[in-house]
Symmetry: C2
Subunit: 395 residues, 2 copies
């Protein structure tokens, strides 16, 4: 029911196109999982995103764990039935929240130290910044719920149990996502724990027919740790690999980390770069051999009034657009660019109208999915680096 086939490798780079088959459909890689954190894309239906070309969606285990909502989903028979959709789904493991509610919240940083925190989710949580809400033990992790202050405990086994109840096609092993501010020693300790957790996850997972699991490589920004982790995770029986954790002090470090890691992974298995998805990062990562992404940027930017365009990121809240009768991106074929002016969208955003967010979300998701189509086509035609050069001129 599951398979991954590489159709073509780029001649100049490590980029490749492939087909990932799941019981709910095919994913053409490279591709991006549209994020539906709590079971919805913020501002768009799954069906519409699918019509735009979305082939897989990412849902977050933590958000169905902290409130025990997974028990209700289980009664429905899994997320596909709860959401009433038939598209391939993936769930993360909850490991990201070890970082985001731990060091991430304490220090106000992202997985790459120089991006964040102004666009973080944190400020929307009913709890103050600067507080670490996480204690990590060998057995698992104790979170203080950012929603109600209650203590909740998540172990590798429970993460897998929950992910089996949620029944996404692709699930992830429970890992400790480390911070770019963590020391070498701490990053090493966390990586070793993640490796022990990986085998516990595989034991708990067993061999279900309707799901496959990706293992997660950790090791932060340290070459020897990344290599050790890649080798170890590669030695276990995972269907594919996630590359997680801190990706360094700046966006350039992402390339280094991938360059250390990817050559040590079985080239016939899919590689997912967790939580990354700015336009330059996408090109740089595919160039290193990444097949899959997931990222909140298309939807989060929309909520902040920012749009993707071939001319780079546009801040549509700016008053300069109030008189602009042109679409967000004249080259974009989405319905928003066919119908609406920048002036109207800017007006809605300035007036805090929910419909402005809806329009931008639709545009941004269409735009990023179209970019992936162009990337796959470019790899097919051996024009990946040409496309990269052309697009990144403005990004």
């Amino acid at each position: 029911m599951f398979s991954f086939n590489i159709l073509k490798k780029d001649k100049e780079t490590k980029a490749r196109i492939g087909i990932l088959r799941t019981p709910h459909g095919i994913i053409h890689t490279p591709n991006i999982a549209i994020v539906a954190t709590k079971g919805s894309i913020r501002g768009l239906s799954f069906d519409k995103a699918n019509r735009f070309g979305a082939e897989i969606f990412m849902i977050n285990t933590f958000h169905f764990f902290h409130n025990n909502r997974y028990e209700i989903v289980k009664k429905f028979g899994g997320l596909h039935k709860f959401l009433n959709i038939n598209y391939p789904l993936m769930t993360d493991s909850g490991g990201f929240q070890i970082f985001s509610l731990g060091f991430g919240m304490e220090h106000g940083v992202g997985k790459v130290a120089d991006i964040f925190p102004e666009e973080s989710n944190i400020k929307n949580l009913p709890i103050s910044k600067g507080r670490n809400l996480v204690k990590v033990y060998e057995e698992g992790v104790e979170f203080i719920s950012p929603y109600n202050g209650r203590k909740i405990f998540l172990s590798p086994e429970l993460s897998i149990k929950i992910q089996k109840a949620l029944r996404a096609d692709i699930i992830f092993a429970f890992d400790e996502c480390t911070s770019p501010l963590s020391s070498y020693e701490y990053t090493k300790e966390a990586m070793q724990r993640t490796h022990r957790w990986a085998t516990r996850c595989l034991d708990e997972f067993g061999k279900p027919e309707n799901q496959v699991m990706f293992g997660i490589v950790q090791g932060g920004e340290y070459e020897d740790l990344r290599k050790e982790s890649a080798k170890y995770i590669n030695s276990l029986n995972f269907f594919g690999y996630g590359i997680g954790g801190s990706l360094g002090k700046s966006k350039k470090d992402i390339i280094k980390v991938l360059n250390w890691t990817i050559p040590l992974l079985d080239e016939n298995k899919p590689r997912h770069l967790l939580g990354i998805g700015e336009v330059d990062d996408i090109f740089n990562s595919i160039e290193q051999g990444i097949d899959l992404f997931d990222c909140v940027i298309p939807t989060r930017w929309a909520r902040h009034g920012a749009a993707f365009s071939y001319k780079g990121r546009l801040n549509l809240k700016s008053s300069k657009y109030l008189n602009d009768k042109r679409p967000i991106d004249p080259k974009c074929k989405c319905n928003i660019c066919k119908k609406y002016s920048k002036a109207y969208i800017s007006h809605l955003l300035k007036e805090k109208e929910i419909f402005g967010i809806i329009l931008l979300t639709e545009h941004n998701i269409f735009w990023i999915l179209n970019l992936f189509k162009e990337i796959r086509q470019a790899i097919k035609e051996n024009k990946f680096l040409d496309l990269k050069k052309r697009i990144l001129k403005y990004w």
Copy 2:
């Protein structure tokens, strides 16, 4: 280009069905103008609302006045071009804000004293309750902007100038909307001022080809004032009538006010009840001869997690719906009721997901438009009171 024809009168009540023709299309009455305060329906596109049967939309002059945004709309050639839609539009005059930012804000009441204020917009404004932001003069009204504290002045002439720039098909005369807490003396004084403003509005309006104006009857909950106002406004050359201002101490007073007012208005002209739209009010008002409504309830309820259904208002934030696999309303033919369970929608609302609001908005607007279709059909078949009885069993 404009006409209003009554097609049939109900045999048992003053209800009637008619056709209102405008340059942008036909409105079958009785009908409700879907509110798009700042130029968008909160959570739904105009096109989708139109596919559900929406035939006219209401946009608020005040929200394009306080920020001078009407000057931008004017450069586009009016709202239809700014929004890129071709549906009939109406704009109110800004008179409602004399109330909502004045006594309404000071006393925390609505146009009917016992509804409001918990669902008011006021709490979303960056200014404290309990403050009157309005000074009324013969010349016009000085508002303190609730957005930035700046003083802004709106006169009957400016309201009409702005409404001509916005170019909605149907516009309203500038009136003083009074409070249910206003005295007889104040209500009388305000009504007389509204009458003087009505003639100033007509003078400013002239005889454009592409717009018609409705005059507004005031007089609060006082029989002699309502009758005096109806007679006076009826004597002027308006295309139709709005019934505005305080409608009394409780919902029952609405019926009294309409019963005094409507018999004194030219029966061949359309009658619009401003800002009212709960299900029982709709039936009671149509029974008295009302043709048109506008109301924020379908969209505002959605933002508060409340749904229309044949079993009455449902609060979908309630945990009891988290296990409910059934749709919001099994009798409803909307896409939301075809596809989504109450459990999923309840989950989204509890998680404050924007997509939950989007789903409820679509359902509520579909539902209320369908109710109007049923009402028109019932009047056609002389079954209006039967339908009223059946629907109001749960409302």
